[in-house]
Each structure stands twice: as C-alpha cells, then as structure tokens.
Amino acid sequence: MPIATLFARLLVNPRTIDGPAAESDALVQLGERLRQTTRGRLGRSLAIREVDAGSCNACELEIHALNNVVYDIERFGLRFVASPRHADCLLVTGPVTTNMRRALLDTYEATPAPKWVVGVGDCAENCGVFAGSYAVVGPLSSVIPVDLIIRGCPPTPLQLLAGLIALIETSAGRSPRS
C-alpha cells in the first residue's frame, strides 16, 4: 500500500505552493542593523529555535504548518532546530508570562551571537488580549531585544513565511522580491 501511494504521488503535481514575496513592512522593521551584521554571514540558511513564552498554542499550530508539504519551509533554507545552541534565530510566541521569563532569558543567553529574535503574534507585540495581567511581564521587547514582529492572532503560515523570508533575504544581502 505505501509503495502504491508513493508511486501515485510521483504522477501528480506537487502540493507545495509558491513562496510569498518578502513582506515590505517587515523589511523596514529589520533595518540597517541586520543588513550590516548578517551580510554574507549565513548564506541563505537560518536555524530557528521556537520558544513558546506563554502562547495559547494557536501560534504553534501555524508554525507547525510551515513544515507541512504545502509550505515546506526548508526549501527556503529555514530550519527548525532542537536547541538554542544550534540556532541563529529565536522565534518567540506569547505575551511572556512571568513563569516563563527566566526560561526565555536562559534560552536567549544560550543562543550564540550573532542572533536574531522574531516575535510571532499579537501577544509578542503587545501582549494581545492578555495585556495588563498580573501573570504577564510585558511585550517581548521588554524582556529581550527584538528584530522583527510578525503580527496576527495567529499569523497565517503565509504571513510567517513572508516575514521569515524577509529576514533571510535581508540577512544574505539580497534584495527582496517585490
């Protein structure tokens, strides 16, 4: 049965969609700092460590979707790694709960420089619906330096992809597709 399925797959068109263009406002956010520090350094590859700092898990579901056959994130040189020690970039979700603050700081410390932080979701930007809670520290940028925010509740896989492609294309010193 699997063999038949595999053969059948060879005869149909790929399910993977074309990648989106890099988001222009994301590029503005990245700014000169990224351009200067990353040019030529990483080539076109980026190792990403995902950290849930208090999300409701919706952002995780959509980040997961990036790995499915439709979005297939690895073809862009973007790869999720198991340890911050292997990572160039932290992808952080959630409003940063007080109970996750220490673990997030430790993870940031464990990531070798040069490193970038991408905040995912409205919670990472401004704590979203959890703003003002006794159990929330504050926006991600109040805990660690942030290079890029990908907005949405949760952002769709396409929005995530656009943001990350912007990051990598800028970091490789290439001009983004318009």
């Binding site: 409701c56 919706a58 959509e62 809670s133 159990a135």
Partner: protein, 512 residues
Amino acid sequence: MIQNDDAPFGLREFLARAGEPQSRRPWPRVVLDRDQWLGLRDLLKTVDWSFLAIWAEDRIVHAALRDEADGAIGIVSLPCPTNRFPSLGGMRPGALRMERWIKDLTGLVAEDEPDTRPWLDHGTWRLERPLSSAPEERPADREPVPYAFLAAEGPGLHQIPVGPVHAGIIEPGHFRFTANGEVIVRLEERLGYVHKGTQHLMRGKLPEDAARLAGRISGDSTVAHAFAFARAVETALDLEVPIRAVWLRALMAEIERIANHFGDVGAVCNDAAFPLLHAECGFLRERVLQTAQLCFGHRLMMDCVRPGGVSVDLAEEGNAALAKLIPELRRAFAGVVAIYDSKASLLDRTVGTGVTLPALVHRFAAGGYVGRAAGRAVDVRRSPGYAPYEELEFEVPVLPEGDVNARVWIRIREIEQSLRLVEQILVHMPSGPIEVQIPRRGGEGSALVEGFRGDIFTWIRLGEAGRVAACWPRDPSWLQWPLLEAAIEDNIVADFPLCNKSFNCSYSGHDL
C-alpha cells in the same frame, strides 16, 4: 446528616434531600453545610459519581459531580468562612491538582490536601491569590521559587529533567523523569509556565469581550472553549440563540475536531519514525484549515463563536467547498488508515505502549480519546447532550486497551464520525439570523461541551450589570495530564514523545 443505608442512592436523590437548589441553570446547585459536605465525602467511597470539577469564589467552594448510573449532574457548594474546606482529593484524585489551583488563585485551602506545594503559582506573579477579595502585591521580575519534586530512590536510578523549553515546537512544561537505565520508573509533571491570568482578566468584562479570552484558553480548542463559554453565559441569562447559530457552532466544532485529529494521528506516526503518514495527515489538516478560512474567515475559526450566537455566517461558497471537501478527505484518509494498519514496524511502536488502565481512567473521569480508548464511554454530546446533536446521527467509538494504538484508533473513528456529522449538518442547516442581543443582567450558569480533547466544563457568574464576576473553565487536560504520569511508567524514555503525543494534553488550557 446524610444517610447512606438505603441503596440505590442517586446523586439526584442526594441533592433533593440536601436542600433547595440555589440555581438550576442548567443543573441543580445545592449549598451544603460542613457536616453534609463531610457526609458527601464519605458517600463518595461507595457511590459511582464521577468528578467533573471543583472551583471556588470568595469564601465558597463548588464541586460538580455526575452520577454514572443515570448521567445526572449536580453541583454542591460549601461556604468557607475560615477559608478552609475538607478536600475531595482523597476520594476523587482528579480533584487534587484543582484544589491546588483553587489555593493558588483564591487562597482557599483544602484542609487535608496531601500535596501542599503550589501548582500554577511559581512565585513570580505580581499578585498573590489574585482571585481572592484581598490579593497581595508582589514586586515585579521575581525569580521562580524552587520546586520540591517527589523522591524516587533506589540503586541505579537517575533523573532526566526536561523542559520547560522542549526540543520540538510545543508548549512549555517541565517533565522530571526518574529512570532505571532506559525504563521510566516515575514521571512527575510540573505545569503552570503559560499561566496568563485569564480568569482574572475576564472579571469585569462584558461577556462578548471575555469570550475573546475564552477563545484563547487553548488555541487548538478555540471553538470548543468559546462554545462552552457562550453556552454557560446563555444558560446564566436564560437566553435562546437562533437555531442557525446552534448548527453553525456544531459545524465549526466538528471541523475543529477533524483538523486536530488529523494533526495528532500524523504526529504520533512521526514520533514512531513514520514520516510518510505525518506528511499525508499534515496535508489533510491543511485542507481543512484552508476550507475553514474560506467558510468563516479564520483558519482556526477564532472569535467566530460568541455569546448570543456566531459572528460569521456560512456563505454559499463555503458550503459548496465543504460539501466537496468531505468525500475528498474520506477517500484520502482511508488510504492513510490502511497504511497505518498494515505496517508492523509502526504498530510495534504503538500497540501495548503507554497503557492507561480502565479503572484509573474511571477514577479520574478522564474524557475524550484518553477515556474512550480505555473503556470510558462518555461523550457529552450524547449525555447530557446539547443542541443540535440530538438531531444528528453519530457513534461514540470506545475501545478497552488504553494504549497508544487505541488512542489512535479512537481518533480515526472520530474523524469518520465527524465527517458524517458535517455532511448531516450541511444538509439540515436551518436558515435565519445568526445572533441575538445579549441582555445586561446577572445570573450563573454552566455548560459541558465536547472538544476534540474531551469534555470542557465551564462555569460562570455574571454580576447585576451583566459583567463577568467569576469564570472557571475546566479544560479536559486537567483530568488527563495526571494519567500520562501513570501511562508512561515502565515504558522506555524513547517512547515518551509517542505517549505524550497520543494524549496531546493542552498546557495553555490547563495553565490558564
């Protein structure tokens, strides 16, 4: 005093004898005195009443029970003028962590609670006892207080600490394994890392605003939690929602169930080193989410269910897309199931792994696929039931084995049943308005909704101006997480991801 000599003795009868209900929305809630509460606790030694939830307000504790004999549900309350109440945890172990939840949030103490360690509060919150009448302020940026894990001692034992930041793209929690070589002797979970103060944030909000928080209790169950919240509010207000909204809610709930089961079946196979099925299931999940986007404007259908009805109607275009999608999913998934069932190397990993015994599942009253894969045939769409499921045909699959394989098969069968349900809902979808105005008045109400993970129990009290005074949403994970600790015993460390994925408990839903 409660007499317990005349059998058979039902929960209904117990409540009728105990006193006049304070509320009947939708189940009777009776206030007990301390002797009656102790009598009930004594009675729980012999009667088959399962435990749904225990929660608290200022100086009063409430517990919801279900009589397994006839499905009757009742709520008992005990005023606690001295901020103490006799623990139910000794009789119903599912109550243990919830009593720690109550203590952390309200300061009410379960007197003979065997475990006095804080649970959700790691010592970092800016408020101590945030839901009590007199919370205490704490300085910001406090470091977490060290946690005393239970000891496991013996020659050759070693500990493996894992988390809160895990290797995969999953939520944070800490697992403390004690292993003897490869074999796990004890797993102790430590949760609470993603506690966001959701219940505190809900207080003082209008129901439609608090519903946005309910939809973010656990993102994978956003429809189910918003559904339970909305029904609890509507019960409290004695509000009838338009019939089309009722059917649209069920449609969204079934779409959510299908999408999550696809994701988890694939993920279990992936953790058993069989990525082909992960790829196939990931594609099917994506098809469902894309169709949800087309139908309701959001891939996860967040904020679509709200008190009074639903916020978005199903357009003709969405209807057609769904009708086309169902046979496509059914055909493709049959291929996935055939592969799963024919690969000895895959079944070798899932059969007999991570067994939960039916007796333990029954004691914890665990719902969803965790319960139904171990003989507990409870689905709240059936009993107590809610609209529109009484008009729909579906089966509730149950298996006795309680292993990873059984949990996978329950999900497979539930996908098939949910596909059937979606078809029926599309055929019989009534027309009409999708929302009514919410009246601004007080009341209390509760609701049970079957999410993909199991039954969600939500209780709410609205103040006189119609704003949320208190809300306790109990995610199914509360009664499933403890069973994972039992399921993993005597399994090898390498099978933990497999077992964990087959449970897929929610961290955020539990931590709130």
